[in-house]
Subunit: 366 residues, 2 copies
DNA sequence: GGTTGCACTGAATCTTTGA
DNA sequence: TTCAAAGATTCAGTGCAAC
């Protein structure tokens, strides 16, 4: 278990991008030297044919060679190799974040546990504007999962509780974060105007990770650097970064990006909390939650009409079925209708507007 | 591959609770007989001595380092055993849902993939009122993860897309669901007024799972039945349930609960259906019935193209002839085209989609 | 200059039927 | 089994061009 002195003496290549395979590159770094690792490894998406939107445009899929693995076994071996190299360079009280989707995250999580990492939380990135499911065959894939783990059980990891609480308007930060996907001006483009990297992560995501899990001056390593979001946010926040990237095209884009990043930049102060309008409450939630029973009757405010609630949150009235709004509009012969203020239900002989139930749900959501 | 007649003949113990170990109980059920499995397995990785193998033997703790490894291994074995038994009883087009937290869900997910299940989505239950993290050392653990998987790749699982969309106010259902934890009147209490089960799931969660992934009359199996939330919601929704539970105390509470549950009436159980479920209508029928005349012109929805109806129900357009779909696709330079929504005809100066005529025929078919 | 409308896009394991 | 054809299917947002 003795380590050679030469390994310890090798200086860290701070604030630079290392070219090459991440396992080899990490093995060339001194052990126990990194405070935080943020890793966005290939997801092993296993996409088959083309996918088109309903308007017949083709989806620009992630079909890059670096995301191709022959089997789960091959992917597991790849995962264990880079996790082992990462573990060696991590300080005993360091921590790791890994992001993934259902294609790979379960394998990553199990490997982390098997190798002695200690999971602290899984954190869900809820995308406010995900790509829809175009064929209507599954749920909209609206989130990705991050695993936050310390090097071992009992390690004294960094967690800036108060800073995160402040970021979250004074209440404890939860394990689900609502953040938009990376597009608009933040999305890096190549010379042709195409996206420079297929899976660029939003800076807001890294901002929260680094504020919460590092201190100024800490060293943050990203073994799958891509276009360098981790480095950019680290630099803004006064942390050191080390990026490792195999593809020259990505390294070039990242280097150029980092040249323009300034510490304590205005952007770094951007608070990622989305402006909070009154949250939308689907009528179906009243049914799911048992506030209204399927089969129960609703009555129009004017007393002229009634309709029955169905299990999927639609109504069935005289001759018509559909949403609370559609049925209301049809019964009144009106072009539109606000079902929330139109319909009432009966409790203990009293007639109560359903909007009261919506208000109740909203008050729970704050 | 021949199956014994006795297995096929064994009747399903519908709408009942089976006492005993779930692996043994599932092995006693006929194979390929279950439409949906909902499983809420024990998470108790941290509570070391409390882990049982399927044969009821206890997993012994060894020394600290080995113990951790042994626990994960034992948990994996437990997981693979019940997942194998579940797989046997599941119909080829059946599906499974498993719920868990970061303590166990990564191991469950990896096992599912290794055993040939095909993950369709991971779904995040985002708790609107989670327990705070009292010590301020981690993020508020505000979610749990469910994995939805079919028995194998390419299987024709049930997904009631339109009903879920209706439940969600007309936009497609996402992979993150905001639902409160189970408390208040729904939370079952024992004779002492303590909660009857430590992890009772909310009925709203099961409502959404069962509306989305089963049809009325389907058989839903819950191998870790607990206090029977799955059975209660299945009964309300007109699905059959089979529960398996080892602890007598939970079985008693569940049985009492189920006695009081009433099925919703038939009308309330009807949900919005997809067009896919409706009968096919050949375009030629519109011509045969005289709804469209041979020689009549159709116009594309966007007004850019037109084509003539021929007596055999094909179209002839600029340069191209074929089905309504083929001609539409060709004129738009698109890989495919739904001719029903693409083409319109003229009546009394108004432009009307031909899909209206199809709906008319369908309504006469009922 | 402000508004409206159209085109485009994002880590995607994305169909079903019948010959 | 494979293949071809029918036909079902999208949300939030950006950016640019046309009014």
């Amino acid at each position: 278990m003795t380590k050679t002195r030469s390994q310890k003496a090798a200086p860290l290549p701070l604030d630079s991008i290392i070219a090459g395979d991440c396992v080899e590159a990490m093995n060339a770094l001194p052990e126990n030297s990194i405070d935080l690792i943020f890793a966005d490894p290939p997801y092993n998406l296993q996409l088959r044919g083309d996918l088109h939107r309903p308007d017949n445009s083709r989806v620009d899929a992630v079909d890059d060679h670096w995301d191709q693995f022959a089997s789960f076994q091959a992917y597991d071996q790849f995962t264990r190799e880079w996790l082992a190299a990462a573990r060696r360079v991590l300080k005993p009280d360091g921590a790791i974040w890994v992001i993934g989707s259902y294609h790979n995250i379960f394998r990553v999580g199990a490997s982390l546990q098997d190798m002695g990492y200690w999971i602290l939380n899984d954190v869900v990135w809820r995308k406010s504007n995900p790509m829809p499911n175009f064929r209507g065959k599954r749920f909209t894939n609206a989130h990705e999962t991050m695993i936050w783990a310390s090097k071992s059980e009992g390690a004294k990891y960094t967690f800036n509780y108060e800073a995160l609480k402040a970021l979250n308007e004074g209440v404890q930060m939860r394990s689900d974060w609502v953040i938009p996907i990376c597009n608009g001006g933040e999305r890096l483009k190549d010379a042709n105007g195409d996206k420079a990297h297929p899976t660029q992560k939003p800076e807001a995501l890294l901002h929260r990770v680094l504020v919460g899990a590092t201190n100024p001056g800490d060293v943050v390593l990203d073994p799958f650097f891509g276009t360098g979001t981790t480095g950019a946010v680290a630099k803004m926040l006064g942390r050191h970064f080390i990026g490792i990237e195999r593809e020259e095209a990505y390294r070039k884009v990242a280097a150029e990006r980092l040249r323009h990043v300034r510490k304590y930049d205005r952007e770094a102060l951007q608070v990622s909390t989305s402006k909070r309008a009154e949250p939308r409450v689907p009528f179906g939630q009243l049914v799911e939650r048992g506030m209204l029973r399927p089969g129960e009757e609703l009555f129009s405010m004017n007393g002229r009409h009634k309709a029955k609630v169905r299990a999927d949150g639609t109504l069935i009235g005289e001759d018509v079925k559909g949403s609370i709004h559609q049925v209301g509009a049809h019964l009144e012969g009106a072009p539109s209708c606000n079902g929330w203020t139109y319909w009432c239900f009966r409790r203990d002989g009293k007639t109560v507007p359903i909007d009261l139930l919506r208000q109740q749900i909203r008050s729970e959501m704050i």
